[in-house]
Amino acid sequence: MMTTEHIASSASILPSPAFPAALGDIAHNFIFKREGMGADPMAAGVSAVDSIFMYIFWISTVVFVGITVVMLYWTFKYRRRPGTIAQASPSHNTILELAWSVVPLGFFVYMFFEGFHGYISRISVPPDAIELKLTGRKWSWGVTYPNGAESPETRHVGATDVPVFYVPEGKPVKFRMISTDVLHSFWIPDFRIKVDVIPNRYTSYWFNAEKLDAHSTGTLADGTKYRDHFVFCAEYCGDLHSEMAAIIRVVPEASYNATITKWVDAVDPVELGRRQWVAKCASCHTIDGGKNTGPTWKGIFGRAVGFTDGGGHSAEEMSNPDAFANYVRESVMTPAKHIVAGYTNAMPSFAGQLSEAQMNGIIEYMKTLK
């Protein structure tokens, strides 16, 4: 199903509205639509990208079919017959050659300006956009809401649990983005835009999520409808690059406000720690005993640990709350100092990224993972 916005945009680029528009919809759906959550994205700005793409697509199709048909027809028609030579024909035609240089140029100028126009509209952030802080790191995304809340919710995507970020429907939302390590790129395919996330430099990404209407992909516990969109990392960043996903969940504005308020209200250290795990640790550390980039947290309190350099801590030391807390703190702040045997030096330092309360929460949360 297409929105009225879409029908208008595809009709305007096609010569005869009725039949080709239907054909245009079929091609458009085939090219962009994914089954399930990606179907029919309607965020503002999407139609600008899709319409120029489909415009180029149809021109290219006509040119390509033309070239192929002519090529095959001439290859057959002028096939070699012994006893004959090529017929005399001009090997140069200034007017023709000028025409096939200048005519494409005209199309290219149009493509350039349409693309430029769409691009500027996609990167100029409206002044009333809600600003969320986004951090990219190997290999997870973290979002901090204006009230300081962080998402505690995850969804299992592929091989890992990825965080779910709530955004309000029909409102401009801006991410101010930074990377703590290497280059990443923030891409929501359904919104048709990506922007690189760079260390030591802020970049921004904004979108205006669609109105939900009838296009929800699920309902919350309280019956509120929502719609999920995938986030992918599009700039190669190492081992779990392909697992560096997240979910953007579009919900009604009231539900958005209630949710982020609920998130920030929870002060229980264990819950706070669990949220840190969701946002920063889950991509590498499991809590169910499964193997991943780093050691599992299941049963870590009281479990002996050995390092690659031969050192380590006994089970007794690890059950001492103070020694355990110091071990965890050191591992989080200076992870390269000791590497647990059987693992590699893959963890970035989180120094400066965790408050004391959050650090404490992680330690308390770990103790509950028996």
Binding site: F53, H117, G158
Partner: protein, 630 residues
């Protein structure tokens, strides 16, 4: 112009002034050791070309194996799920003290990881191996295959012959560049044997300056690319000087075959652009080894600066890769259509135009990381490259009009090239357009696009070029039906592999992913099946050539009816190519007036055909008499 008289016997070799080196360049000079030594120290451009071809084809094989490994890993996505533990002996579910079922996490879909015994282990090992495999594929295919394929292998062999020269301008330098190529490849292979690198062939910072920090292998891999660059520069330099200084009498600039024009344009790019990547890679090595902050923000550097440096070279090098492909098509289409190429001058200028504009478009690789103004300027400039490229395609198709087209194996490859390259070129348009590029950038759409250009363009043209010149290079024909059959297998496999990737890209599949969400699995499976078909096609083509070497019929001098100088000389050529300096009397594509040397005038009734055939027969007889005299 356009008459043949007995003086053309020069090209055939009558009345040569010397008695040595009259035999084929392939004739062994003695025993095995002597022959190997002879090849290893040769300054003959033909032997160097053949050595390049062997090296490039070997690297193509390794790069292809890596590609198949990548595709096989992508046959199934990596998944973890919780399953109930089961007692392996009784098959009964395991329960804990409280009677609750004990769950465990199970990972599936790790094909590469299973070789490391990582089945059920963390997915890092598996994905890391995948990252090393795609880096290997990219680095080998770009630096060791596509860049040297046409210029260094076929260019070395044919550029001097096409301009009527005995050799390139600096034969020893030519041998040196082959050894530099081998040396660079050895560094690359060393990095692979030491565990490989996971930087991607683009070496983006700061990932490349921090990954595998305890190991030297990244430095070796970067060093390999650095060294290979010198080989490229020296080859380019050699060709530029050869084209300027060694053209045969009678060959003005616009009498040169278009192959020479395009390789000339390529050489200029190689000489001007490669030093930039040399310095950039050197800076990268400095940063890794001595922690000089240039690109790593942790040391006060700028990671985007690396992208500017890298693409300032690597964009022109895209044309170093595609122009020689176009060069080959420039020869195949007129020769096998027996017709003058359409728009000779616009073809020549298009090559130079592409080379010039290619220096101004590097920023289009960075629309998502650079500023708005830069992105806008680079988008506009990028569309300019499309014009000369479109002109070339139109000219090639125009050449077919009213031709006399033999559907030979090389011609089939040329038609495949036109088909695939047109798709590759057209899909560049939404990437040049800013608003659609920010969606498609770094997605499978880009992967598909550059494979259509680099592989559907350059590699197909290279393989087509080998088919075109194989009889000349080795003096043997091959089984044409089998060659055409495998060309069609390659065509089908190629489209199945890469067309699916366009749709994956528009639907949101990012590149360099070891796994993917469920929505993408069907298209990934199709693509993987296509890659296997593609592999079969190339191995089949290889078998055709091996069969030709072992049991092929002796090739005539001019099997396809070409008019350029290589078709006047023996198959395979003698050591000095021509027995006496050739004099050029007609244009390279005057198929409507000149009888192809050695062809029957009844089959090819150009005006004055009988007289031309008689002149050719006299020249040939003189050459034979001369040979028997010795």
């Amino acid at each position: 112009m356009a008459t043949i008289d007995d003086r053309n016997a020069n090209a055939l070799g009558a009345a040569a002034g010397h008695g040595h080196d009259e035999g084929s360049y392939l004739t062994p000079k003695g025993g095995l050791i002597t022959t190997i030594w002879d090849w290893a120290t040769t300054v003959d451009h033909k032997k160097i070309g053949v050595m390049y071809m062997c090296a490039v084809l070997m690297m193509f094989f390794f790069g292809g194996v890596a590609a198949l490994a990548v595709r096989t890993e992508l046959l199934t996505p990596v998944r973890t799920q919780q399953v109930q533990q089961v007692n392996p002996e009784t098959g009964a579910p395991v329960v804990d003290a409280a009677g609750q079922p004990v769950m465990k996490s199970v990972t599936t879909g790790q094909w590469l990881g299973s070789f490391l015994g990582a089945e059920g282990d963390s997915i890092n090992k598996n994905n890391n191996l995948y990252n090393r495999a795609f880096t290997l594929h990219g680095a080998i295919m770009v630096f060791m295959v596509i860049v040297p394929s046409v210029p260094a292998a076929l260019g070395n062999f044919f550029l001097p012959i096409l301009i009527g020269a005995k050799d390139v301008a600096f034969p020893r330098l030519n041998l040196l560049s082959w050894y530099i190529y081998v040396c660079g490849s050895i560094f690359g292979v060393m990095a692979i044997l030491m565990g490989g690198v996971d930087t991607g062939w683009t070496f983006y910072t700061p990932y490349s300056t921090t990954t595998d920090a305890d190991y030297m292998r990244v430095v070796y891999m970067v060093l390999a690319a650095f060294i290979l660059g010198f080989s490229s520069i020296l080859t380019g330099l050699n060709f530029v000087v050869s084209v300027h200084k060694l053209r045969a009498p009678g060959m003005g600039w616009f009498d040169m075959p278009l192959f020479v024009w395009a390789v000339y344009a390529t050489s200029i790019l190689q000489v001007l652009a490669t030093p930039v990547i040399g310095i950039t890679l050197l800076l990268l090595i400095f940063e890794r080894l001595f922690h000089v902050g240039i690109f790593d923000p942790g040391l006060g550097g700028d990671p985007v600066l690396f992208q500017h440096f890298f693409w300032f070279y690597s964009h022109p090098v895209v044309y170093v890769m595609i122009l020689p492909g176009m060069a080959i098509i420039n020869e195949i289409i007129p020769v096998h259509s027996h017709k003058k190429i359409f728009g000779y001058r616009s073809m020549a200028f298009a090559s130079l135009g592409i080379a010039a504009v290619s220096f101004l478009v590097w920023g289009h690789h960075m629309f998502t990381s650079e500023g708005e103004l830069a992105a806008t300027v680079f988008s506009a400039l990028t569309f300019l490259v499309a014009i000369p490229t479109a002109v070339k395609v139109f000219n090639w198709v125009g050449t077919l009009y009213k031709g006399s087209i033999s559907l030979t194996a090389p011609m089939v490859y040329a038609l495949i090239f036109l088909f695939l390259f047109t798709i590759g070129g057209l899909t560049g348009l939404p990437l040049a357009t800013l608003s659609s590029d920010i969606h498609l950038h770094d997605s499978y759409f880009v992967v598909a696009h550059f494979h259509y250009v680099m592989m559907g363009g350059t590699i197909i043209a290279f393989v087509g070029g080998i088919h075109h010149w194989w009889p000349k290079m080795f003096g043997k024909m091959y089984n044409e039906r089998a060659a055409i059959f495998f060309a069609i297998v390659v065509f089908i496999g190629f489209n199945l592999t890469f067309f699916t990737q366009f749709i994956l890209g528009t639907r949101g599949m990012p590149r360099r992913y070891a796994s993917y969400v469920d929505e993408f699995q069907f298209l990934h499976q199709l693509s993987t099946i296509g890659s296997y078909i593609l592999g079969v096609g190339f191995m089949g083509s290889l078998a055709v050539f091996v069969h030709s070497l072992l049991a092929g019929k002796t090739a005539p001098r001019n099997p396809w009816g070409g008019l350029t100088l290589e078709w006047h000389i023996e198959s395979p050529p003698t050591t000095h190519n021509f027995h006496k300096e050739p004099i050029v009397h007609h244009g390279p594509y005057d198929f409507e007036t000149i009888l192809p040397p050695g062809w029957d005038p009844k089959d090819y009734p150009v005006p004055n055909a009988e007289a031309q055939a008689a002149a050719y027969a006299r020249a040939l007889a003189a050459e034979k008499a001369h040979a028997s005299h010795h």
